[in-house]
């Protein structure tokens, strides 16, 4: 238990060092100097290997810890929190380490063991979906299958138990918007404002698209109910 706590603590202390040392074993070694009772010297290579894993495994561990810290630090100034502000704060977290990120993503996407594919594309998808999911949870986007809870005291009309995939749609939209913005941020580090504009544009577009889909669905329901009414009146 103590070993797990030390590892977690060292990772937490190594995250701010990524800015100066990159996602390297050196950053992990230097984290020992920042302990409450600091070591006299950085961790040795053998110590880094035994605590975090050998070779690039240690670097992957540091990258994962940095990404977790990024998600935990997503903030919004408004109340209730705004999805745009949360995703913007996540983009801002990238800025100090922008130069190290392409290599970090490449390392994560490289399969650990021999594989037919040289890269694992699911890593990028999982990364964006994780950020979108956390942001939607923070916003309070508690979409579930039903549009509203059933009143327990009454014999509720079950037509309100309407299945919808709002949970997945909102997160997919947020993930796509964030992915586009982060891609622009990595590709154009010399234009720091452009990713935020891209993020806002993508979110606005996806919101309009979601609204259109819901309106089409609602219209479809009205048409279906009209046909059902016509059918009943004809005795079908």
């Amino acid at each position: 238990m103590a070993a797990i706590s030390l590892r977690t603590e060292l990772l937490r202390l190594a995250v701010p060092l990524v800015k100066t040392h990159g996602f390297t074993r050196e950053a992990l070694a230097q984290s020992a100097l920042r302990l409450p009772e600091p070591h006299k010297e950085p961790l040795s290579e053998a110590a880094v290997t035994s605590i975090f894993g050998s070779g690039d495994d240690a670097r992957r561990t540091l990258i994962q810890a940095w990404m977790e810290a990024a998600v935990l630090n997503m903030k919004s100034k408004s109340t209730p929190p705004s999805l745009l502000e949360l995703l913007e704060s996540r983009l801002k977290w990238n800025e100090p380490v922008l130069g190290h990120l392409p290599e970090a993503f490449a390392l994560l996407a490289t399969p650990k063991f021999s594989s037919l594919l040289p890269l694992d594309p699911s890593v990028a998808v999982r990364h964006n979906i994780h950020i979108a999911n956390e942001a939607c949870n923070l916003v309070g986007s508690h979409d579930i299958g039903v549009r509203r809870h059933l009143p327990l005291e009454s014999r509720a009309d079950v037509s309100c138990i309407t299945g919808q995939l709002a949970w997945h749609r909102k997160r997919a939209a947020a993930a796509i918007a964030y992915a586009a913005a982060e891609l622009v941020q990595l590709a154009q580090p010399e234009s720091p404002d452009v990713p935020y504009k891209v993020l806002k544009q993508q979110l606005d577009r996806s919101q309009k698209a979601l609204q259109s889909v819901e309106e089409v669905g609602l219209f479809g329901q009205y048409v279906a109910r009209s046909w059902a009414g016509i059918g009943k009146s004809m005795g079908l």
């Binding site: 508690h142 299958g145 327990l152 949970w167």
Partner: protein, 247 residues
């Protein structure tokens, strides 16, 4: 042992466990999710974070399946009610109408009909999904339409077939909840949400077994081709459970 006898023996063991549990009078655990006064309780708002990824995955897939299962159960009862709702004997079993009180209706220990209980189950499962940050199943619409189709088709076959469908579904769900309780033993007992989660699952297991008893008391075993119907419905439920765990 014949499948019917094996099912009956397992049902009686589970039913004994549930009756032993229910002899002690206490508020149902699910009240924590329906009582507005408890809406800020940590037990209904927080989820255990520091658990191994494999256990987290197990918790997520379990609650995802439970939510989909309750959704399907609601739509099974809707399908049955749409066909048999006007039948004076069966209609009130599924959902009693306040306008048509039936002296022959059979209620569970809380005086609610079966469909009302399933609505409560679904409402609580939806809150559990939000609390534990679970991804709902991608097969939501399939669960809904499949449940309605199953309920309507078995109801069209007759009252006994509808009860046989309920018996088969509730047997699988009761066993499923029982297996989940065993798996949830690994969750950290000191987190406020865990004892409540186990209590809710236990309560819902008992409710489903009570529905099973009601179905058997109402001639489910007199349904045409009862063994075949039960096997097909039961197998379909098990396939649906495995699919919802993954998708």
């Amino acid at each position: 042992m014949l499948p019917l006898a094996r099912n009956a023996s397992r049902r009686s063991v589970l039913a004994c466990a549930s009756r032993l549990h229910s002899t002690v009078a206490h508020a149902a655990p699910s009240v924590a999710y329906t009582d507005p006064a408890r809406s800020q309780d940590p037990s209904v708002l927080t989820t255990p974070r520091d658990i191994p990824p494999a256990l987290r995955e197990e918790l997520e897939s379990a609650l995802r399946v439970d939510q989909a299962g309750e959704l399907a159960a609601n739509w099974i009862y809707k399908g049955q009610h749409d066909v048999l709702g006007r039948d004076p004997a069966t209609g009130p079993l599924i959902q009693a109408s306040t306008a048509l009180p039936s002296p022959t209706s059979i209620f569970d220990r809380n005086g609610q009909d079966m469909w009302d209980q399933e609505k409560k189950h679904l409402a609580v499962m939806n809150k559990l999904q939000i609390q534990h940050r679970i991804r709902p199943t991608l097969l939501w619409e399939f669960a809904r339409l499949g449940g309605y189709g199953l309920g309507a088709v078995t109801a069209l076959m007759g009252k006994e077939a509808a009860m046989a469908c309920t018996e088969a579904v509730e047997t699988v769900i009761g066993e499923h909840y029982d297996d989940q309780l065993k798996a949830f033993e690994q969750l950290p007992a000191d987190h406020p949400s865990v004892p409540l989660l186990k209590g809710v699952i236990r309560e819902f297991r008992d409710d489903e077994l009570e529905h099973l008893d009601i179905a058997v008391e109402n001639d489910s075993q007199k349904a045409p081709a009862h063994a075949l119907l039960s096997t097909v419905v039961g197998a379909g439920c098990k396939v649906a459970i495995e699919l919802c765990k993954r998708f």
